[in-house]
Amino acid sequence: MNVSNEPDEFEKRAAALLRASVDGMDGATRARLAHARAAALEPATRARHWLDLRYLAPAGATAVAVLATVLVLNHGKPDALVNEGAGIALYDMDLLADADALDIAEETDLDFIEWAAAQGEQGPGG
């Protein structure tokens, strides 16, 4: 081992070569490094915003892919995600939303229906 800690000729030469390679770095790489430095020194909020975009895009894409997979796997099985109670509620909602059904209800003579029901309970001889 080099006990004196003084570099020998080999080390000096290697150091000189390495430094020359740094000094002779191409302009494009220097520009990219300067840009990277400027980005690193931006105020934290702006840098965080940039980081968010960087990581949110893949996260969003993953979420869309998962959703698409679920939809594809459940294609043709419309009841798979709906329980019985929810199905009844949806049926009621359909009735309420059905404008024709509301018209029929308005036009129907409710007194007549009540009378007919009473006749039925009393029987045919009634």
Binding site: P7, F10, A36, R37, A40
Partner: protein, 195 residues
């Protein structure tokens, strides 16, 4: 009593000073850091990513530390980042090797340095006709990571043993051992041809 807005102005001025000082520091190390990362990763974009991440972490987490601590801190962050990228690359390679449709197509272009290392017929033929820097770079690429790290921190960045130890996260003695082995290995690879 100092008014609050005066304290705010002083704080803002202090931050600007720190940012300017940090900018000077990073401008002074960025090219050397890129060379080191490039030699370890053998890929320009990966090397740039590693340097940028190291800059970002230093600026975010350690800007308020004394400026004389920045250099070893920066190189320690950089080396960690390089190792992360190497690990990630290794894992990605293993996963890709398991995918049947990736075996024949869509592979990364071959790394010329790695290819040269894999198929090198011998030191004399290997370095013949190459520039001195290319010979050194090829020899450095063959070194174990810690040896290369010690050699570059000492000879490219000009850190002393204690600073190198701080940057590498090890003792002075370990740095001396890594460095000594690196020099011996480089000499044995390049010695008689590196003239």
């Amino acid at each position: 009593m100092v008014p609050l807005y005066c304290e705010g102005l002083a704080l803002s001025a202090s931050r600007d000073d720190t940012r300017r000082e940090l900018n000077r520091f990073l401008a002074g190390v960025e090219r050397k850091a890129f060379r080191m990362a490039r030699m370890a990763l053998r890929h320009d974009d990966d090397a740039l990513d590693a340097v940028q991440d190291a800059m970002l972490q230093l600026a975010r987490r350690y800007a308020q530390r004394p400026a004389e601590e920045w250099r070893p801190l920066f190189y320690r962050i950089l080396e960690n980042r390089i190792r992360d990228l190497q690990r990630r690359r290794m894992v990605r390679g293993k996963v890709m090797a398991l995918l049947p449709w990736r075996r024949d197509t869509d592979e990364d272009p071959p790394d010329p340095v790695a290819e040269a290392l894999d198929h090198a017929p011998g030191p004399a033929e290997q370095v013949e006709g190459m520039g001195m820097m290319a010979k050194l770079e090829m020899a450095l690429a063959k070194l174990p990571a810690r040896q290369r790290e010690a050699f570059l921190l000492r000879n490219l960045e000009g850190l002393d043993v204690a600073e190198t130890a701080a940057a590498m996260g090890c003792s002075d003695g370990s740095v001396k051992t890594h460095y000594f082995r690196a020099v011996q290995a480089l000499k044995s690879q390049l010695g008689e041809f590196w003239t």
